[in-house]
Symmetry: D2
Subunit: 266 residues, 4 copies
């Protein structure tokens, strides 16, 4: 059985990787794209990546009416993605959305809609399976290793520090970690900032250098032993395994699932 | 409530660490030791480590009759450990045993005895929580990352390669890993051995250098991403957190449990 | 003063990076390319990369006669490269050649020619400055740390193991390392190959996984300490800093220099 | 020829390692120790470590008059070390001193004295050969890789951050590094401290966890490549190779040398 897919955001950096992934997967078929500018030029760009002609729509409702899709993938921005996803679920089409930008209220609304429609909806802030596992393992380890620090390393064109993934990792670790005062109670910095950022007692360090891509190490320390969980991502191509998994799983999902880890067998 | 403990093998390297751990734990009390040579000299050695006088026994049955223990810890060798553990379970004393050396037949026998006696028995090949988690996470990751290699690094006084932990890691990974031909089908070694050992398609590499202690990295590779799980052990002190956990859990355990991961909340 | 450059091999993977580097360097000017197939199609390819029209030659002697160059860069294959380089030196043009494939006899001949012509010639097996430094530092460290192992990691499309860089690193380490029996004299492999390849007592390990690019670690061990020198290369773009340096240095060089380390200030 | 050695500070953690090293070295002979409390109890402690009776002195001048030494080793504190070293040089005895605590004025005075006496004097802030090489290589690399960050990792009982070695590494890197604005000009911290300490544009990060001992990584980044120089020290035993080297070299040294790197063949 072929899974018929509509993709929103086909010209973005993630979108064009998604087209390649769909076309390379025998069980998947790309039946339409949703684009905010359905010009001939854009259509030809998309067709070139896809290697075949893909109908391009500008209007969400028309797209969902005129086509018969199993799964809708949204790789646009939160505002548009929210509207697209609501429309897809209303048409009974399962949705896979790559964003961490929805508000709690939006998530609640989509959850109710998905449940009512008995349709699956997977929203994932991160599709890199390695990053998802790194965070999940870190959460698990925190129960037995309350002493933990994080170092994330990115190219020097990145503006913000620490990275979103590092902050998210702290969030999940906190769910399992016994509150504790970490480091020596009298420790001091002879150079300000040396001990990094301190989020709920967990120290984070952000390295920025040319040559780096996107890397994170979560280091747990205990009596005479260390446990390190490390993820290296070299290209956004790394997201495609997870996106593929989400498309496969969303058809067996009922209601909204937030985070890829909840459809993985862990 | 205090947990009353009998320890077998108190003069070994693990045993003396265990004495220190028990004495440092408020809820634990060391009430006797089992030693194959209960000489005055050995008694004085043990008392020095313990910081108090601990009755020393040579005969297993006498020891278990004359004392009233909750938990028996065995850190001796497989042959003696098997006899000790049987005796402990027969007396209704929960047992924690550090060994990977029992035969399947011995394990089966101890399992039946523990069940019949409604007594807990935890047998663990490795008490380092970090190593146990490394193996458990590796097993979990293998479902999504079938491409994996292991490098383990030890001091140059180690005789065998690869390490027992590395081989055990391959065993657990295999339970979850889709069989696959790894590496390029036409790859070749211009220097024999460069690609390491090959166990069921998983390559293992053993580094031996002075300065190293005991380290292992399990590296998973996929499209444009890597996931690495790494454990460093600097001293056998690292086993004590896990031994403590086993003593705490064995009283709530019914029957035999093999491997610390099964009493951890994972 | 502008350095006028002729490039041989402009359509190769290295060659196209070289064009970009030359065009991005204010002091460099690409005045011609040497190509074994000077077709209109190839010319247009090259012009597109260069962003301007670059004369394309098929015949070496014609190229050197009709143009007035300061430096000739060869990024072709050893056989062609040897002929090109001889011709360049004969015309008094300094040459920078990226190859490890010349025979000792060819090197000797080019060396005599360069000296006779009072022209510089830099032949480098590796233009990545980080890799050159890794090897140089490894050679220096070997004097004080005779215990050393190498692990190199590459993508799983690489056919040969160990890598050329790893073997070259062994060569330079040997120049400074006291001969010694490494590892335990009675060490044994329970799984064949675990201890890696053994080149003159130095063990080499080759990891191959998807997601990896090109990485090498040289690990030196001694009493209670480790020194590790590591290089990660993510793209052949990393060669361009070194190629640029070679072009700058070759004009001040008299005769043949083999290896970038000899024109660096180390 | 045997080198006759006087050791000051024999009961300190470094001192007792030094006694073991001297006794294990065939060419070295420990002829006396200098101790600020030459009690019978201390003498017996030292004799136990040495495995033979070593004369113990409290008064510096008496010690140097009554014995005939080739080399004096000082492993005490700066104040005492300065007085001892002056006395040793005055008696024409070569001195090896492990400290970073002498003032510029003290160094100048000792330098003049050593030159006048035609005696060698090696003062080293760090005797771990791996650490010395890490700093030296970092200095060399900085010429070609101006983008660099440092992460140092220590046990959580360490009070100060960053470590002295990290700060010293910044010092030596600065000697060779072109001044540059590192990182993105508009980078910002959403959590204060994430980007670490900033010493002259070089970012430093200090990790503190139980299980860690003493580790430092110097990471250089450039176009698509990284060069990392890493040192791990697991025990102060690691200083002994360097101390031994200093004792061997000081007899061929004339005047004062500051830093082990200047007597190494680099």
């Amino acid at each position: 059985m072929t899974t018929r897919i509509i993709l929103a955001g086909p010209r973005g950096r993630m979108g064009s990787e998604a087209i390649k992934m769909i076309q390379a997967t025998k069980e998947f078929s790309l039946i339409a794209c949703l684009d905010r500018e359905a010009t001939a030029a854009n259509e030809s760009k998309i067709n070139e990546i896809a290697g075949e002609n893909i109908p391009l729509y500008e209007q969400t409702d028309v797209c969902f009416q005129e086509t018969e899709a199993d799964v809708f993938i949204d790789l646009t921005v939160p505002d548009a993605g929210y509207i697209h996803t609501k429309e897809a679920l209303s048409h009974g089409i399962a949705a896979v959305v790559g964003t961490s930008g929805f508000s709690d209220k939006q998530l609640e609304e989509l959850s109710q809609l998905a449940t009512k429609q008995q349709t699956g909806c997977i929203i994932a802030p991160n599709f890199a399976l390695g990053a998802v596992l790194m965070m999940h393992f870190s959460k698990m380890a925190a129960k037995y290793f309350p002493d933990v620090e994080i170092i994330e390393k990115h190219h020097d064109q990145k503006l913000d520090a620490p990275s979103g993934t590092a902050k998210k990792t702290v969030e999940v670790i906190k769910e399992n970690r016994a509150k504790k005062m970490q480091g020596h109670p009298h420790e001091y910095e002879s150079e300000k900032g040396a001990r990094g950022a301190n989020m709920d007692g967990i120290h984070l360090h952000s390295m920025r250098l040319p040559g780096l891509v996107a890397h994170q190490e979560v280091v747990f320390g205990s009596n005479a032993e260390l446990l390190t969980i490390k993820h290296d991502s070299f290209h956004r191509e790394s997201f495609m395994q997870g996106l593929k998994l989400a498309v496969e799983k969303v058809l067996d999902t009922d209601g909204l699932v937030y985070g890829l880890e909840h459809v993985m067998e862990l």
